[in-house]
Amino acid sequence: MSLDAATVRRIARLARIRVDDTEVETLKSELNAILGYVEQLGEVNVDGVEPLSGGAQMALRQREDFVSDGEVAERILANAPDRVQNFFAVPKVVE
């Protein structure tokens, strides 16, 4: 399986990364090198093998559903690139 320029552009769009036309060719060959390398997994027989999603040898812990933190709006907003009162400000989304 080899990626073409259109697929590279589609992935970049999905990943929300702007790529210039000049970058597409480089990315194409780099991504294809990586995908070419991982192709070797095709030769492994995984019949009946469960996927392993986590590194922890345990079930995920549950906790009581209650508010344990909060009321720190000012500290959170201190890092905001743009804010209006207690909100993160972004470009207009709805016309």
């Binding site: 990626l3 590279v8 992935i11 970049a12 769009r13 999905l14 990943a15 929300r16 990364i17 702007r18 790529v19 990315l27 060959s29 780099e30 991504l31 090198a33 990586i34 995908l35 390398y37 991982v38 070797q40 997994l41 095709g42 492994v44 995984v46 093998v49 469960e50 996927p51 392993l52 999603s53 986590g54 590194g55 922890a56 040898q57 345990m58 995920l60 812990r61 906790r63 720190v72 500290r75 959170i76 201190a78 890092n79 905001a80 690139p81 743009d82 993160f88 972004v90 470009p91 207009k92 989304v93």
Partner: protein, 492 residues
């Protein structure tokens, strides 16, 4: 003897005996950082004033008889740990303005123990790399030099390259690192240090900038095995803020150091004897086997049949998790923003400007392998092979107590080498990635020098939550190796 020759254990004794003060120790290190960091670039941010303040508090605590083994010990904090009020960049331009309003659990534990923070150590951007060259704040110089070419700049390994260079050059007494596929062990090997990646779940991930959440683990990097044990004692422990944190007692790891290896069964995996591996590294591995045998260990040949697929699994799983984790950098709530004509354009421009080339590549690979139509072929398949790799270890550990391998397939390489394509660089992690995928603890110990005078490391892999055996075996290798070489470029 210089103040920089002291280990953590040695410095703690002198501090307790009032032969030196924490302020003296920290002042010496602050000055060494100021003198050497402009060249090495091991720190992205230095915090000399904070360090001095913490040292003063440490002296008060020592005087009151309330010191821990780390009170007054000056360390470097990998710039992946969020530190309250101190800029945390993950070596990415996208986090250039980020000042965390909270402290990571691991750094908070070290702070509570009285450790002094000299600064935030450089790393590969978002911990993605094996050479520290992907940092948005410039590469790090390895203080070690080739005998035949002392002017050539070598990499310190990665991703914890700044931590490694800082400790090796003695501009930190020890450092924190994080390890996703080898990021503590490979740089430790490249710089003549000891470093352990504990069992997944042993140290809390809370407040560590996430790369691949099912693999990321914090751990210590230090001059010797004992110092690593002292640090891990303070860093480890259950944290309810990390859903994969292990609810287990933390033993005193220093108690395991003198256990010896008599009667232990040490596995030697045939699959790590890769074709084309540097003969010096294979010879060192053989020496390690002899050292353990001489101390009474039983050497057992084992097989980890899926080893060769480790890297391929890793380079699907880690980018997949990264593409999801790094979705948060959108220019809205924190970090850098680049304005656009609309919201999507703002996202795309922000991420294009904020992320470096390697991070973009990995996000895109991750996006692709998780995308509709490719998920089963790539991601699900990789997770299944990951399970086979875990099974390899489970089967091996039915027969042996620990496994000995080389840490990396080469010694430190030159800045600019191995850049032909991303896969060449990825091969650095071939010996370290399998333990990460299985979640088992693994430690690198400096064991010798190559013909160029560069350090080489051996890796000890243990069972889940059996860091104690890892420490015991590592200490035995350390004793036998008697590694005492130092880089010429260091604080003296």
């Amino acid at each position: 003897m210089s103040i920089f020759d002291l280990t953590i254990a040695g410095a703690a004794k002198k501090l307790a005996a009032k032969e030196i003060s924490a302020v003296e120790l920290t002042t010496a290190y602050n000055e060494a950082v100021a003198a050497l960091n402009p060249r090495l670039n091991a720190y992205i941010t230095t915090t000399p004033d904070l360090a001095l303040e913490q040292a003063k508090a440490a002296d008060t605590r020592i005087a009151a008889g309330e010191a821990t083994a780390l009170t007054g010990i000056p360390i470097a904090m990998k710039d992946l740990f969020c530190t309250e009020g101190v800029r945390t960049t993950a070596a990415s331009k996208i986090l250039e303005p980020f000042i965390p309003p909270y402290e990571s659990t691991v750094s908070a534990k070290l702070k509570a123990a009285g450790a002094v923070m000299l600064g935030k150590a450089n790393l590969d951007e978002f911990a993605m790399g094996s050479s520290n060259i992907t940092s948005g704040y410039g590469p790090v110089e390895n203080p070690w030099k080739r005998v035949s070419d002392p002017d050539a700049k070598l990499v310190p390994g990665g991703s914890s390259g700044g931590s490694a260079a800082a400790v090796a050059a003695r501009i930190a007494l020890a450092a924190t690192g994080t390890d996703t596929g080898g990021s503590i062990r490979q740089p430790a090997a490249f710089t003549g240090l000891a470093g352990i990646k504990p069992t997944y779940g042993r140290c809390s991930r809370w407040g560590i900038v996430a790369f691949a959440s099912s693999l990321d683990q914090a751990g210590p990097m230090a001059r010797n095995v004992e110092d690593c044990a002292i640090l891990l004692n303070a860093m480890a422990g259950f944290d309810e803020k990390d859903s994969t944190s292990a609810q287990r007692e933390v033993p005193d790891f220093t108690q395991a150091l003198n256990r010896g290896v008599k009667g232990l069964r040490i596995g030697i995996p045939a699959e790590y004897r890769l074709e084309g591996t540097n003969p010096e590294i294979l010879a060192l591995w053989d020496k390690g086997i002899e050292w353990l045998k001489a101390q009474g260990a039983e050497i057992v040949d084992i097989s980890l049949p899926h080893t060769k697929y480790g890297l391929a699994v890793y380079y699907i799983v880690a980018p997949a998790e990264a593409s999801s984790n790094l979705a948060r950098y959108d220019g809205v709530r924190f970090g850098k923003r680049v304005d656009g004509v609309d919201l999507i354009d703002m996202y795309e421009r922000t991420r294009a400007a904020g992320f470096g080339a390697e991070v973009k590549r990995r996000i895109m690979i991750g996006t692709y392998v998780l995308s509709h139509g490719y998920y089963d072929a790539y991601y699900l398949k990789a997770q299944k092979v990951r399970n086979l790799i875990l099974r390899d270890f489970t089967n091996a550990f039915a027969k042996v107590d620990a496994i000995l391998t080389p840490t990396a397939p080469s010694a430190a390489f030159g800045l600019g080498e191995k850049m032909d394509d991303p896969v060449t660089m990825y091969l650095n992690d071939v010996f370290t990635v399998p333990a990460s995928l299985a979640g088992v603890p693994a430690m690198s110990i400096p064991a010798g020098l190559n013909a160029e005078g560069l350090p080489l490391g051996l890796q000890v892999i243990g069972k889940h939550f059996d860091e104690e055996t890892v420490f015991a075996v590592s200490a035995a290798i350390e004793n036998a190796a008697g590694f005492s070489a130092l880089p010429e470029l260091r604080a003296k």
